[in-house]
Symmetry: C2
Subunit: 431 residues, 2 copies
């Protein structure tokens, strides 16, 4: 696939930690202003039915980075400091594919796919790393540069600023004839909310909104810096979230939040601009997945994927480039190792559910079949009206589950009976 | 307070079990048609910020029936068959007040304020009773006529029809010069969903929607029957819900559902018509509470309340009659004995939360202060911006809690550590 002037595009992938679909003004927020992200949306495409790889951090990032469903990757559930394990070292990440193509690759922010040094970014194809390997509510909280502990405990409030500066320095150090890949996973607006002083009071939506405006600002700093270098025309610039919002934030009126396989837990904002190749001002409602991004890049850049690590995601370049797509495969809603739900076209079948501590109770109402076009809030079970669809989607899930032949099945027990408050590695923090 | 022709108005109070704010077409549903209820809304007032007395059945009904917060009444939490207890016998219900005024009083449907005979409707001021004393997912499931077991297990699907017929017969038997009070608590659309055959397939929202359309139909039957008797002009006709929806149903885009003190768990639909006295076509957003209804009736009918059982609710007749109201006191959000939140004006302070099995975990983010006018979905905590408001509302809650001097404190332990699935009295039913 040729690209502009036969120069490979630069790539920036920004992912936030827990930002909601409705927290961007281009997605309808009236209390948070995100002018820089709105500009990205105007200059490219805004996707309104983009699904993450899971309703928690680690699996969502594993799927984005590998193009594969998280349960295949050994990173199906949230990792904690002290787990002493990470994503399967055989996985080939977006970083590794792009590095293999000659890209300069840097990761600036929250990794959350395993411990440094054994399974940090430098083990998965990144030349440089600066940031927090785990969430901002996990102990110990260490800032790493590459594989070196440079700060403990982390000064979280200044991380976005410092990561942006590191990314900009990385871009500036990359020779102009070498393309760069900046993976920029914000540590925010994950609880606890700790915005940098200069953003406190900027939004109408409290500290959470201030943090979202900081995210917009630093996303804009990257965008503007690349623009100032004359490179934005040939940069694929992506903005998204790992999953739905948690204690605060807007899920855009959907049902559910982080930790849940309701759409509110897994439908995420997604903006992509590439002025040289992607028509401007598109709003696209086709259901697709963040794990489609890597297969899409492979197609656009003529990368031959590693056949031992086949993608679950699909090439969706036609969606951005031509505004059309052939039928997309099912959208899978995994909660760790549990395939809770599937979406195919307008239909979603919710077969299992994790309501912490109340799983048995929740099974009363399952399965539930929703028409997400008429009923995006998942209010009305149409299963009794469409038993054929229930059977079709249930069969689809069973077949897919059987095909997975998952290793490390003991991890499936991890959450069992958990009340979260007792979870190892999580620490109640006062802010 | 004089009423039309010095004849006391008839009163019909319909309350549904678990119907959501957004499940009525007059409240925005596009998948469920409720033409009869829409007519009630057009002929009177539709309230958009009406709060129930609790996010579960028993306390919500206790507050409606007594005009008092449920923790005062001995019915602060869900009652189960086998509890062998009910609402405090000293409580004076809407039924008792109206009976004392010469009304014929009948209750047709789900009582859920205690066991029959010891604390059934006939002990609380009703002349007649027909229906299910507990929820349609509790065992044993017995239909009572007055205090007699007439059917076990109950044929739930036909209950709405039979209750409507009983209510109509009761109305017809009441002499025309005697006013009647029909309290009509539907057992639906509470899970399990069991609509009458003739409604299956009528709605676009599955069996749940069909059940809502059945509710509309039978509400309409009562309305039409009273109209046909020439009495609708002087009938106060009320329609509401006990709390937010559960497994299915629309909370109208609010946050949370049944069992939660988010607004989605406690803001309910509320329609009131009284053509002789209430102007038509009103839409009222003033925050008020279902427990205001009894104090309001007392004022309208010149009833002297029992001073030993003082109301927490307020007379809000001016709201319907004149479209105005003096400042309303705080809206209290109780979860059983726990005062989780308060609303005053546009502000809501959420101080505690019950997320089943994850209470410790949920405390991370509390308290949270929301501006319900800008942010009805409770997405953005403004506490850090308005510490004065946090303090004011927190003080208000502490003062109110201290004033309560609640009896039966051991009941506070009832839910502690519960995962619901193990709750006594609840039985997983297959539908």
């Amino acid at each position: 696939m040729p690209t502009q002037s036969n120069t490979r595009p630069n790539i920036v992938v920004i992912i936030c930690d827990d930002i909601g679909f409705g927290d961007l003004s281009c997605n309808g927020s009236t209390m948070i202003k995100t002018p820089n992200l709105d500009l990205v949306a105007r200059r490219g495409a805004r996707l309104t039915s983009m699904y993450s790889g899971g309703p928690t951090c680690t699996p969502a990032r594993a799927a984005l980075m590998t193009g594969r469903i998280a349960p295949r990757t050994g990173a199906a559930r949230v990792l904690f400091p002290g787990d002493n394990r990470g994503m399967n070292p055989n996985e080939v990440t977006m970083g590794a594919y792009l590095k293999g193509l000659g890209y300069a690759t840097g990761c600036f922010g929250k990794w959350h796919l395993g411990d440094i040094p054994d399974s940090g970014p430098l083990k998965f194809g990144f030349d440089r790393y600066f940031g927090l390997p785990y969430s901002n509510d996990m102990d110990p909280m260490i800032v790493y540069r590459d594989e070196e502990n440079v700060e403990e405990p982390a000064d979280v409030a200044s991380l976005a600023l410092r990561c942006a500066n590191e990314a900009i320095e990385f871009i500036d150090k990359t020779p102009k004839d070498q393309p760069f890949f900046v993976y920029f996973p914000f540590t925010s607006p994950h609880h606890p909310i700790t915005p940098e002083d200069k953003f406190i009071g900027t939004s109408e939506a409290g500290l959470y909104g201030d943090t979202c405006e900081a995210i917009d600002f630093y996303s804009g700093e990257l965008y503007k810096h690349i623009s100032a270098r004359g490179q934005i025309e040939n940069t694929i610039f992506v903005f998204t979230s790992d999953h739905g919002p948690w204690w605060e934030g807007s899920n855009g009126g959907l049902r559910g939040r982080k930790f849940e396989t309701w759409d509110g837990g897994m439908r995420v904002p997604f903006l992509i601009s590439w002025p040289a190749m992607i028509p401007e001002g598109q709003v696209i409602s086709q259901p697709v997945a963040t794990m489609d991004l890597l297969p899409t890049l492979c197609n656009l850049l003529d990368i031959k994927p590693d056949s031992s690590m086949p993608f679950d995601g699909e090439d969706i370049s036609d969606l951005f480039m031509k505004g059309s797509i052939a039928d997309h495969g099912p959208i899978w809603y995994f909660d760790a190792f549990s395939l809770n739900a599937v979406r195919k076209g307008k239909w979603k079948l919710h077969r299992k559910r994790q309501t912490w501590g109340g799983e048995k109770f929740s099974q009363w109402s399952l399965p539930q079949l929703f028409d997400l076009e008429r009923d995006p809030g998942e209010c009305y079970d149409l299963g009794a009206r469409h038993p054929d669809v229930v059977k079709e989607l249930n069969d689809l899930m069973e077949k897919f589950e059987k095909s997975l032949n998952l290793a490390e099945a003991d991890d499936r027990e991890w959450w069992k009976g958990s009340t979260l408050g007792d979870s190892a590695g999580w620490n109640v923090q006062k802010v």
